[in-house]
């Protein structure tokens, strides 16, 4: 047992005469204190830390809606709770689920501050959320230190479960590497050999890892990168950047932008008339981006985590429940949020404790097929789910509806999109400790 745990277990009591609590904890004291374990009382608190301002606020608000739906289902039944054997209504381990929400402001520093409060003041046992990989990474570093589990939601950088991976973080979403593997053959197939491409990317971990992965897999197939131009996250006027793209040399423009960035950059590319001279590709597509550029996205290719049109019982059940609650079809940000909460709850139920190391072990090497994305495996080596990648393209204007702007044109199976534990981003991953090694 670690020295710190002894101390915390004994030391938390203090002068206020709370000594009676030691050894209590509602009978769940088979494990020592760790992070915010044990969970006292009949409620358990989850922290939903999402961007409610900044470039990714729309996605963040979508996530929050789905998180609240997940809490509702966990407490009162409905959605996947009725379908998963591990779950039943009445909360997690019979504790009512409550939540605190925070605003990351799409900024790692603010996110870390907000997550600190959730852990220290609100006693959150698990934190989830984050659009923007730098935000996810800053939060999961904190969570690893604090021994609080972090369920990554929308984060697509290779680093999240690569170089910056942590034991306490799990990611279900695919990453830039998998996007590159899935998209490159399709692009070559569609636009031909020997094309010149130009990458314009958001200047942080997500953008740079997409730039690198697209370059790796496209150049492998004989394409040639003309240039890669960074844009600051949160840029809203892209027109000077678009003027800079060499029209004669470029055959394909990769717009590695997301959220409000993409909603601005895609129309700016069309406004500048770049579509006359080249093909435009959005490696990671997004509902908001598609919405903003709906007039122009006919045939524009990209990947997504999921789309509500994906037809399987879990996908349909979530879509239906979300539609009933919110009146619209869910985005994939919403599915990721819902799934992260449910997978955590199920792992706790299986572990029969909130003790983080046990919950983490429950999730490692787990093969599952109940989150609407087909069969996936949460690997123990890097905590990345190996899963199918959906390739989509924009619909022509006359076929678009409010809910459907994109259509799934292909699914790259996880054996093709995936990679081994000693390859790709996983090769750089050192997960760190569980926190109970000395027990």
């Amino acid at each position: 047992m670690e020295r710190r745990d002894v101390l915390k277990g004994a030391g938390a009591a203090g002068i206020a005469g709370l000594a009676g609590c030691i050894g209590g904890g509602g009978g769940s004291s088979e494990y020592p204190e760790l992070g915010n374990y044990p969970v006292e009382g009949d409620e358990v608190t989850l922290g939903f830390n999402v961007p409610q301002s900044g470039a990714y606020a729309s996605e963040g608000n979508d996530e929050l809606r789905a998180y609240n739906l997940a809490v509702e289902h966990l407490n009162n039944g409905g959605g996947w709770v009725d379908m998963w054997d591990d779950l039943s209504s009445g909360g997690i381990l019979d504790k009512t689920v409550t939540s605190v929400s925070g605003d990351t402001a799409t900024d790692p520093a603010t996110a870390e501050e907000s997550a600190t409060q959730m852990i220290r003041s609100d006693g959150a046992i698990m934190i989830t959320g984050g659009v923007s990989s730098s935000v996810a990474i800053s939060q999961q570093k904190l969570c690893q230190q604090e021994r609080v589990q972090f369920m990554s939601c929308l984060t697509h950088s290779n680093a999240t479960q690569g170089a910056d991976c942590v034991r306490y973080g799990f990611r279900e979403m695919h990453n830039a590497y998998m996007t590159g593997k899935a998209l490159a053959p399709i692009l070559v197939d569609q636009f031909g050999e020997d094309q010149n491409f130009y990458s314009m990317y958001a200047d942080y971990t997500w953008g740079t890892s997409n730039r690198d992965s697209m370059k790796e897999f496209l150049e492998e197939r004989g394409w040639n990168q003309v240039e890669a131009a960074p844009t600051p996250l949160g840029t809203s006027d892209f027109s000077p950047y678009m003027q800079d793209v060499p029209r004669e040399e470029t055959d394909v423009l990769l717009l590695i932008h997301f959220g409000a960035d993409a909603a601005n950059s895609i129309p700016a590319a069309f406004d500048a008339g770049l579509d006359d001279d080249m093909e435009i590709v959005v490696p990671l597509y997004d509902k908001i981006a598609a919405n903003a550029a709906s007039d122009n996205i006919d045939g524009v290719l990209g990947t997504v985590d999921w789309n509500w049109q994906v037809d399987n019982e879990y996908s349909n059940a979530f879509t239906e429940a979300y539609r009933e609650a919110e009146g619209t079809a869910p985005s994939y940000a919403a599915r990721l949020a819902y799934s992260a909460t449910m997978r955590y709850a199920a792992a706790v139920e299986r572990a029969e404790t909130f003790y983080p190391p046990e919950v983490i072990r429950e999730m490692e090497d787990q093969t599952y097929s109940n989150t609407g994305i087909g069969e996936a495996e949460a690997r123990a080596c890097d905590h990345q789910s190996m899963r199918d990648v959906y390739v989509v393209e924009g619909l022509p204007v006359e076929e678009q509806t409010d809910d459907a702007l994109l259509s799934v044109v292909g699914t790259t199976d996880r054996d093709t999109a995936g990679y081994a534990c000693d390859a790709g981003p996983a090769a750089n991953c050192e997960l760190g400790t569980y926190g109970d090694e000395d027990n």
């Binding site: 301002s53 470039a55 606020a57 000077p240 003027q243 409000a260 909603a263």
Partner: protein, 316 residues
């Protein structure tokens, strides 16, 4: 390949918005010796006014749907025109109120206290916007057409090539506003007061001009210009609570110090100079563009502290 014309147009468009902001700030600063760090907040209010008018009037189920008999008759284009009328009127009223309730009690306070209090006010306005409208960004609201003329999409211009049409409208519109302001200041009694006030407000008072009323007028006009800058800015950048401090306040101050405090011509020229400097580097080395912009102003302030057209430093 760098096309000079493209840089010029981008610089002109950005510079014109800086100039609008700068004129508003400089006439207030020059006439009343009042340092207004809430100038960015006025830009913010202008942008949100534009957002509300454009979104609510254009949308059938908007809050104003009942007022207009047939909302569909008003396209998104005409609602921008409505905003173009509503914004300066509203902002003028806000400016007059601000002069009365914020600035007037502070005229005798020190420069530092003026800065502190208006900085606090800017924070409050930003937070009110966050609370009332929400912290998420709204995408810019450039209209599709004005007076039946399509203003979206790109135009093919000789020497420039493809360039978004709306940018030309922005340049035209802002220069129209700048020109009108310039004429008002050069040709009217109001302008006389501003010009005289920026030189010697004691003298104006001695001449028997009701300076209090003029102060309110100047503040109102300054606020209206900042609001119009916000309205125009909101057609190019996303509207979010932070744009007042992030996108407007600092450029406004840079414009005024480069142009020379109290000088309207200085604000116009200063704004365009800064817009050009930023634009050149936005094309050449985008990551350096802001660094060069601030560096330019720093060097300028050290070499020519009175600004391009100013005669004295404020607070010297």
């Amino acid at each position: 390949m760098v096309d000079v014309a493209g840089i010029l147009i981008t610089g002109l468009q950005q510079g014109a918005i800086y100039a609008l902001l700068g004129i508003g700030l400089t006439i207030i600063l020059g006439t009343m010796q009042f340092l207004n760090l809430a100038h960015g907040a006025l830009y913010l209010v202008g942008a949100y006014t534009g957002l509300l008018v454009v979104r609510e009037i254009s949308v059938q189920e908007g809050a104003l749907a009942g007022i207009v008999a047939d909302p569909t008759a008003f396209g998104i284009g005409s609602s921008f025109l409505v905003a173009l009328v509503v914004t300066p009127i509203l902002m003028f009223a806000i400016g007059v109120a601000m002069e009365r309730f914020v600035a007037r009690p502070l005229y005798d306070r020190s420069e530092v206290e003026q800065l502190l209090l208006t900085f606090g006010l800017a924070l409050i306005v930003e937070e009110l916007a966050r609370q009332l409208i929400g912290s998420q960004p709204f995408s810019s609201y450039a209209p599709e057409e004005l007076f039946g003329v399509v203003v979206s999409g790109q135009a093919n211009i000789p020497f420039v090539g493809q360039y978004p049409r709306w940018r030309f409208v922005v340049i035209g519109l802002t220069f129209l506003l700048i020109g009108a302001t310039y004429l008002v200041i050069e040709r009217t009694d109001f302008g006389m007061v501003v010009k005289a006030g920026t030189r010697d407000s004691e003298m104006v008072r001695l001449l028997g001009i009701d300076i209090t009323r003029s102060y309110a007028l100047v503040f109102g006009v300054g606020a209206a210009l900042a609001g119009l800058a916000g309205l125009v800015g909101g057609t190019i950048i996303d509207v979010a609570p932070g744009i007042g401090t992030n996108n407007a306040l600092v450029p406004a101050f840079l414009t005024v110090v480069v142009g020379g405090a109290g000088s309207v011509v200085g604000a116009i020229v200063g704004g365009i100079v800064l817009g050009m400097v930023a634009a050149v580097f936005q094309f050449q080395a985008p990551q350096w563009s802001q660094i060069v912009l601030f560096g330019f102003v720093a060097v300028f302030l050290l070499v020519r502290p009175e600004g391009l057209f100013g005669s004295v430093e404020v607070g010297e």
